[in-house]
Structure formats: structure tokens, C-alpha cells
């Protein structure tokens, strides 16, 4: 084969290769918009959840660190100061009028003041907070064990998830942040409703007056500015029906990885 033909073939192959690459990339972007294909990709979430829970065990606890490991600058995630008149009024008063409303599938729907929550069994832990974007910060949290709150209200047998409804509006329509936790995570000893961070009253950027710590999940599972907790058997009719604000935007409900 002479050189010019060889060169022509090389050019052809090079062109064909980049053409195929462009087609494949375009194809992948098209696939990302295809609901049936995304459902196939979604199947990995159930596999990850099942396998991770099976090999780590229900009671596995997240690593706890020392004071020396605390992040010098803990970056606050999501909302930093809820743009909501009702919330701002509560904040001006030091959350003295704030009440945590616990209801749904419970025996005794109850409202708790901060003082009442502080009187319940608490836990203090220094843990690593992993944001879905990839960064990690280490903070010290003190709060009431969620299981202790559940003991107060009496969770009914049909309940499967705890839903957290928050004060922070996420869009111009006033839709507010909400999240879910499986009861397995909700009853975990490290799962607390934190009212203190780094030995101070929980500051507003970190979710004052009360936020969730769900230490074996990514950051977006840990609702801030909690106003109401509801025990439910299904979240199909809440928000977009996927179990949380970010879940409705396409993120996994099982955020173990």
C-alpha cells in the first residue's frame, strides 16, 4: 500500500473514531433524558442499599473523632439563612416560641419546646459530614436521640419512614425542604436531633434551632430547620413522591455512597 492511501485510510479512521465518539457521547446525553434507561441506572441504588446494609450490619456506627480533628471552618451546606417570615420571627425571639410538631402514625401526637427536647436523653458525638459534592467537614454535635422522641410519642406499627419538614424555602414558589429517613436509620443510636454544634447553641447557618444528624448517610439527608416530624407508611404523595427535596431532583434516597 502506498503512503497516500495509507494516509487517507488513517484520516478516514481518525475521522470515523471521532465521529463514533461524538455519537456515543451524544447518545449518552440522550440516554440520560430517557426515563426507561434512567430506571435501569436507578436499579443500582437498590443493589447498593441491599449490599451495603447486608455487609455492614444494622448497628454499625460511624467513626467518631476527637476535638483535635474538628474542622477549623465547617462549611454550611444548602440554606444558610431561611428566607421565610415565620422562621425569621421565631429566630428573632431566640426560638422561644418554636415547637417541634411530631405526628402521623404515632399514638400521641406531641409538640415539644426546645427545653422539653433538652430534657430528654441526649448524645454528643464528633463526626464527619460528607457532602454529596465530595467534601468532608468534622463537627461536634449534641442533641436528643431521635429514638427517645419516638418513645415519647409511641410509633405505631404501620410506620416505615420518618419525614422531616423544614422551614427553609427552596424555590420561588415557597416549597420547603423536606427529607426522609428509614426507621432503621431513625432508630440508630447516633441518629440525633442536634441543638448544639461545637459546644454552642446551633447557629442558623447549620440549621437552628434543630437539625437531623443521620451519620451513615450523605449530608443532604440531614434536614436542617426542622419544624415537623411525621411518621408515614409511604412518601408517594409527599412532594415529588421520591422521599425528599433532592430526591425529587434526581438524587438517591439511599445516600449511603
Amino acid at each position: 500500500m502506498d503512503d497516500s492511501r495509507r494516509l487517507a485510510r488513517r484520516r478516514f479512521l481518525g475521522g470515523a473514531a471521532s465521529g463514533v465518539a461524538a455519537l456515543l457521547l451524544g447518545g449518552c446525553d440522550k440516554l440520560s433524558e430517557s426515563a426507561p434507561f434512567v430506571r435501569v441506572l436507578d436499579s443500582a441504588e437498590a443493589v447498593s442499599k441491599y449490599v451495603q446494609r447486608a455487609i455492614t450490619g444494622r448497628q454499625a456506627t460511624a467513626a467518631e473523632f476527637t476535638e483535635a480533628d474538628l474542622s477549623p471552618a465547617f462549611r454550611s451546606n444548602g440554606t444558610h439563612d431561611p428566607d421565610d417570615a415565620g422562621y425569621q420571627a421565631l429566630a428573632r425571639n431566640g426560638f422561644a416560641d418554636w415547637r417541634l410538631d411530631v405526628g402521623g402514625l404515632v399514638e400521641r401526637p406531641t409538640q415539644f419546646s426546645l427545653a422539653e427536647l433538652r430534657a430528654l436523653p441526649s448524645r454528643t458525638q464528633i463526626t464527619r459530614h460528607d457532602c454529596v459534592e465530595g467534601r468532608s467537614c468534622i463537627g461536634k454535635w449534641k442533641g436528643v436521640r431521635l429514638s427517645a422522641v419516638f418513645d415519647q410519642v409511641g410509633v405505631r406499627s404501620g410506620a416505615r419512614y420518618a419525614m422531616f419538614f423544614c422551614a427553609d424555602p427552596m424555590d420561588p414558589f415557597g416549597n420547603k425542604y423536606y427529607e426522609s429517613a428509614d426507621l432503621e436509620d431513625a432508630y440508630h443510636p447516633q441518629t440525633i436531633l442536634a441543638y448544639e454544634m461545637n459546644d454552642r447553641t446551633l447557629p442558623i447557618p447549620y440549621g437552628a434551632p434543630l437539625r437531623l444528624r443521620n451519620e451513615r448517610q450523605l449530608g443532604y439527608k440531614m434536614a436542617k430547620y426542622i419544624m415537623r416530624i411525621e411518621l408515614v407508611d409511604s412518601f408517594a404523595r409527599i412532594g415529588g413522591g421520591r422521599g425528599g427535596y433532592w430526591e425529587d431532583q434526581g438524587y438517591e434516597r439511599y445516600a449511603g455512597i
Binding site: M1, R6, R9, L25, C28, D29, S32, V38, V40, L41, D42, S43, A44, E45, V47, S48, Q52, R53, I55, T56, G57, A60, T61, A62, A63, F65, D69, S71, P72, A73, R75, R128, D130, C131, V132, E133, G134, R135, S136, C137, I138, E215, R216, Q217, L218, W246, Q249, G250, Y251, E252, G256, I257
Partner: protein, 289 residues
Amino acid sequence: MASRVRQSGRNEAGSSESFRRDRVYRHSVLVRATHWINLVCMTVLLMSGLQIFNAHPALYWGDRSDFDSPILAIGAERDAAGQGAGVTTVLGRTFDTTGVLGLSGGADIQEPRAFPAWATLPSSQWLAMGRRWHFFFAWIFVVNGAAYLLYGLARGHFRRDFLPSGWDLRHIGRSVWDHLRLRFPRGEEAKRYNVLQKITYLAVVFVLVPLIVLAGLSMSPRIDAGFPWLPALFGGRQSARTVHFVCAFALLGFVAVHIVMVLLSGVWNNMRAMITGWYDLGDPGGDRG
């Protein structure tokens, strides 16, 4: 590599002489299948991985992210004249990477993003979708790799074909010299991998790939709860994230060299071997088409 050899006689049109060529059955069907599945997985994992990295384009060492002292950071800046620039900082040294890293796009619109659109999956900034692609293909990659590993161990593929002999190791200098001159073995010698191939494949299969999988798992808060020694192995979750990133580019480097070697040592012969299994011993550099 199996040692089955086929003598193929063939008349070439227009040629008066007939000749015989030796073909060797080089790759079993499982190796061929896992190889191509692997190619798809690694492509998707790399590109969706860069999508995920773009969500927070900085790397750290230790358990936590100390935002003031990243090992690597990619960002966009605007100078006094209002001109945008892509800036990459590695171990305190800053480079202008406009057009590729930090700031990239078409001639008219430049977008601030760490890795450019052509390198990420999806091409637009879409973390949730990148994660779905990544974790789905991570499972395929692991299952595919496990099948290859079990097969290789059971059939003695690694011991027979990857483990360098004493002779290999003593003649490593010669192999390096052969590679530098782009001299590739023919005939009997071409039935076996050369010593540099053996060492490279061992390093990829038994070091690099396990490392990238374990480093990836170390970023999972639930896995870390079950196996606290795993992130500790890397020096913390953020170190594991850095190792994961470095391993990805080490694998990319391996693939680049692999492709160059395939092209140089006879692309059709190599492709045929990885598709049909049969490798032509007499046809190492031949580009007959």
C-alpha cells in the same frame, strides 16, 4: 493465553506462492468478553467520575477538607480587565489552563467548570445523573472484574501468563531496549507476553484496580461505618478521594500506552486476537489490512 496453534495455509490472490502462517489461540472467550465490557465500564466510570469531581473540583489529604490547603484545585478567575481564565493549582503551584480546565466551551461562550463538557458524562453539569451512571457501571465493573479474576485464578491464567519468570526478570533491560526501538517479538517469542507487559498487567489487575475500588468504597459513609479501617488505610476519606482520582488517571495512562502499543504492534492482528481469539505469530508489525 492458550497454546493452541493453528496452521493456516492460504493463497493470496495475484500471488504465485502459497505460504503458511502460524496462528495461536491467544485469548479465551471469557477474557475477550470481559475485556470489551471493561472498556465500556472504564469509559463511563472515568467520564461520570469527572462529572462528580466537577461538583467540588478540589482534592485534600486526611479525613476532612481543609479548604485553605487543597492538594489540587481547579477554578475560574476574572482578571482586572474582566477577562476570565481557567486556573489549576497543584501543590501550591498555579497554572493557566483556560480552554481545558477551569474555563472551557465554544468560541463564543466559555463556561466555568473544572473538566470540560467533552470529558464528562453527562456533558452538562448534572451531578445527580453523573452519580447514577457512575454507580450503575461501578457494579458492572466489579462483577465483570470478579468474573475475570475468578476465571484467571481457576485456570492459572495469571500464574501462566502474567507471572514473570527468572529469565524474564534477568532480561528486563533487553525488553526495555526492545520497546524503545519499537521492536516487537515474532514467532515463538510472540506466544508469550514480554516481561514489561507481565509486570504492567499484574500491577493493573492486582494493585491499581483493587485500589481504585477500595478508595471509591472509602467515600461511602455507610461502608466506613461497617469497615472503619478502610478509610484509615488511605489516611482518611479525603485522602481516599485523592487516591481514587490519581488511580483513575493512572488507569487512563495505562489505557493510552496500551492503545499505542496495540497500534504499533499490529492493530488488525491484535484486534482479531481480542475479538476472535486468534493471534497471528508471523504478522507482528504487519499492516496488511
